[in-house]
Amino acid sequence: MASLISCPHCGTRPKEEFSIRGDASVLRPDPEASDEAWNDYVHIRANPRGRYREHWQHVAGCRRWLVVERDTMTHEVYSVTDGAVAAREAAR
């Protein structure tokens, strides 16, 4: 894993300031969605070897939720985006 993460708000910071929640590719379904949709959201993961989008929180910094895109094999970090910005981009 990269030792330094470029937070869009705080600049380059050590990785230990961040907390990793997990897969950012699954989206929470509508409350009335089918059981299958909820099962997919809660349990099923693509778990790719390669590019992966993940939710991180900068707990020892700005406390913003971020989307970190990185490689699960080489551990290279491609991009770090604020969660709200990433959500707006996804909605577009």
Partner: protein, 416 residues
């Protein structure tokens, strides 16, 4: 060749030039009745029990690297059956019983050492939880013993009993728990399976799963297409990648877990000891090195290497529990890729595809389960029905709402 004291003496007297390779290096046949993907402990044990217990022939194990190159050779070698939940405990006790007869069965020295495993507790709540776990074990016929502080001080005087934040109050002991020589387990199963005619195909990476009319007809590999009538997946950390070849939707994430070994010391730690205020566990190998580890790093990874922050955390936990460790030098550390399931428990199951069977989700507890995993997976493949002790370990338990969550951590793989 059968291994015995006599064979050692005989070969020593003849200059040790007559030892034969422990298994063949066969070329792949075009078709097998059963193919197991993954030549680690679980895959090899499955093939062995398919041949031995269920009398089946024409079986192959496909391994992308060399036999035992994955997690079976990268763990901290602990065997135990001190689980609590009814879905788990009978399965792990079945495994413990198989461990106890395995070396004779395989004619291979796996160096099983039932030195006892002790889980430390640090407060009243944790003591009560261990009493509950011990009672749950007894209900399945598995002996467990609660040790108070005085008993523990006698057994393990080197522990940091009076730590200001996490004083050690006692521990839960399973005497039959202990360690085994991890590589030897893979080698023993490989040799025994080979002797029963199982094809062990190394450097044979599965690149695709061919299906016709909704059933598997064979696998594409780096050594060409190989047909089969039943396919079993035991690919551990790479389960999602192999599963994707058959469009399986899996509740698995791959995470990295690190382990460590120190320089060789004189006998110092006689048991397996686990820390109750963290996830640290330690034992001493027969060679003298202290073998230890702790939590997974906490992020998805397919790389067999971990992060320095976790290394530091593990060392801190170790020194907090045993202050004397601070003067020991670490020789090596390494990482393994864990198939973390969504409830922390394994999967030995049918899949939506009729002749495709799945063995995965071992999190970081796969080594102790090796014999039972092999036996139960073989039972499932041979008879097309779950073994009684593995009947809860189904793939569809997640969508049906029957997770087996030993820690009560919820569907968050990096917390199990």
């Amino acid at each position: 060749m059968r291994y015995s004291a006599f064979s050692i003496v005989k070969n020593a007297l003849t200059g040790n030039v007559n030892w034969k390779p422990a298994w063949r290096q066969p070329e792949p046949k075009p078709f097998y009745d059963i193919i197991i993907v993954g030549g680690g402990g679980h895959g090899l044990a499955t093939a062995y029990y398919l041949a031995k217990e269920f009398g089946l022939k024409n079986i192959a194990v496909l391994e992308k690297g060399y036999l035992g190159s994955g997690n079976v050779g990268r763990n901290t070698t602990i065997v135990r059956s001190n689980y609590m939940l009814p879905g788990n405990e009978p399965f792990y006790e079945f495994s413990m019983k198989l461990w106890e007869g395995m070396e004779q069965d395989l004619n291979y020295n796996a160096m099983l050492s039932q030195r006892g495993i002790i889980n430390l507790y640090h407060n009243d709540g944790q003591r009560d939880a261990y009493i509950r776990r011990g009672n749950a074990m007894w209900m399945e016929g598995v002996p467990a013993e609660l040790l108070d502080r005085a008993a523990l001080k006698k057994m393990l005087p080197f522990l940091n009993f009076d730590h200001a934040r996490f004083p050690i109050m006692g521990g839960l002991l399973q005497k039959r728990g202990g360690t085994a020589r991890h590589d030897a387990v893979a080698w023993g199963y490989a040799r025994a399976a080979d002797r029963l005619g199982v094809y062990l195909l190394q450097n044979c990476e599965v690149t695709g799963i061919r299906r016709e009319n909704g059933v598997v007809t064979g696998v594409e590999t780096s050594r060409g297409f190989i047909g089969c009538s039943k396919l079993g997946l035991a690919a551990a950390g790479n389960t999602s990648r192999v599963g994707q070849m058959a469009d399986l939707k899996l509740p698995i994430e791959s995470h990295v877990l690190q382990a460590f070994v120190t320089e060789g010391l004189k006998p110092a730690i006689d048991h397996v000891i686990t820390y109750g205020a963290g996830h640290f566990y330690i034992s001493q190998s027969d060679k003298g090195g202290l073998v230890f580890g702790a939590e997974i790093d906490g992020y998805n990874s397919y790389a067999q290497r971990g992060n320095l922050a976790t290394v530091e955390h593990v060392m801190e936990e170790g020194v907090t529990m045993i202050p004397g460790l601070s003067r020991v030098r670490v020789l090596r550390s390494w990482g393994g890729v864990m198939d973390m399931s969504m409830d922390g428990s394994p999967i030995i199951s049918h899949t939506p595809i009729d002749n495709l069977y799945l063995n995965c989700g071992w999190c970081y507890g796969g080594f102790k389960a090796t014999p039972a995993s092999g036996w139960c997976f073989a039972h499932l493949i041979a008879k097309n029905e779950s073994h009684p002790v593995a009947r809860f370990l189904r793939l569809d338990r997640f969508e049906r709402g029957y997770p087996i969550d030993e820690h009560g951590a919820g569907p968050q793989p990096n917390l199990h």
